[in-house]
């Protein structure tokens, strides 16, 4: 990852974090989509 790509990723990550922190339902969906949790909030 170049410095430019890395910076783009970190900017994108910051926006994503802000969006998800403001919307708990979207945060839960993201974490479930990532395969980390089940919809009930248990580890998958």
């Amino acid at each position: 990852m170049s410095e430019k790509e890395r910076n783009e990723y970190l900017i994108g990550l910051k926006k994503l974090r802000k969006k998800l922190v403001e919307n708990p339902a979207a945060a839960r969906k993201f974490l479930v989509d990532a395969g980390i949790y089940t919809p009930k909030g248990n580890l998958r």
Binding site: M1, L20, N23, A27, A34
Partner: protein, 204 residues
């Protein structure tokens, strides 16, 4: 700039001899490991350049009686691997990236109301064998790249300091190793049966 690895590596997977045979004969593929505690997230796991460690691992598992432990006769499968776009957690900048992702994950996890996964010691050993938190952070990185439409990582690589000191006050431990976790099976260019050294000739 340097996250795509040039060249190929050799790596080894400990398994039952039936799995070794099926994969070598093209009758089966290795499946992803998808445990919550996998050290480098979900994927196909290999020991980099360590046939002996792969065999030791398979032998140890063959002695454990678990309902889903299917190793009866330990064996090792060799693989030729192109790591491709690799999240190499030996690299300084990627360790910083991991830290930044932990901070993002933590905020999102709190917002979600879900519990924070934990890394835990396994059995009587002092090593953190069950790494739910590390696994979650790595899966979080993969998912964030999906959401941001960025090129996914083909593989993840890490170095692990494991086991007892090899002598009193040693900085080295008995089971130090490098693991690779393949996310993109096309990284695996081929499998091979590791050979026994012909001791009539020098080691190359």
């Amino acid at each position: 700039m340097y996250s795509t690895r040039p060249g190929l590596i050799l790596a080894f997977h400990g398994c039952d001899i039936s799995v070794q045979n099926k994969v070598l004969n093209g009758k089966s593929e290795l499946n992803f490991s998808e445990n919550t505690f996998d050290w480098l997230g979900s994927g196909i796991y290999f020991w980099e350049y360590s046939q002996e460690r792969a065999l030791e691992y398979a032998r140890r598992l063959s002695k454990q009686k678990h309902h889903n432990n299917n190793i009866k006769k330990p064996a090792v499968l060799g693989a030729v691997i192109d790591l491709g776009h690799c999240l190499d957690l030996i690299e300084y900048k990627n360790l910083q990236l991991l830290k930044e992702n932990y901070e993002s994950f933590r905020e999102i996890q709190i917002a979600s109301g879900f519990d924070l996964p934990e890394n835990k010691k396994g059995g009587s050993l002092n090593d953190l064998l069950l790494r739910d938190l590390d696994c979650a952070i790595i899966e979080f990185i993969h998912q964030s790249r999906v959401d941001l439409n960025l090129k996914p990582y083909d593989s993840v690589k890490g170095v692990f300091l494991e086991g007892d000191e090899i002598y009193p006050d040693a900085g080295f431990k008995e089971k130090n190793h490098v693991q690779v976790c393949i996310r993109n099976p096309n990284c695996i260019k081929g499998f091979f049966l590791p050979r026994v050294l012909n001791d009539r000739y020098p080691t190359v």
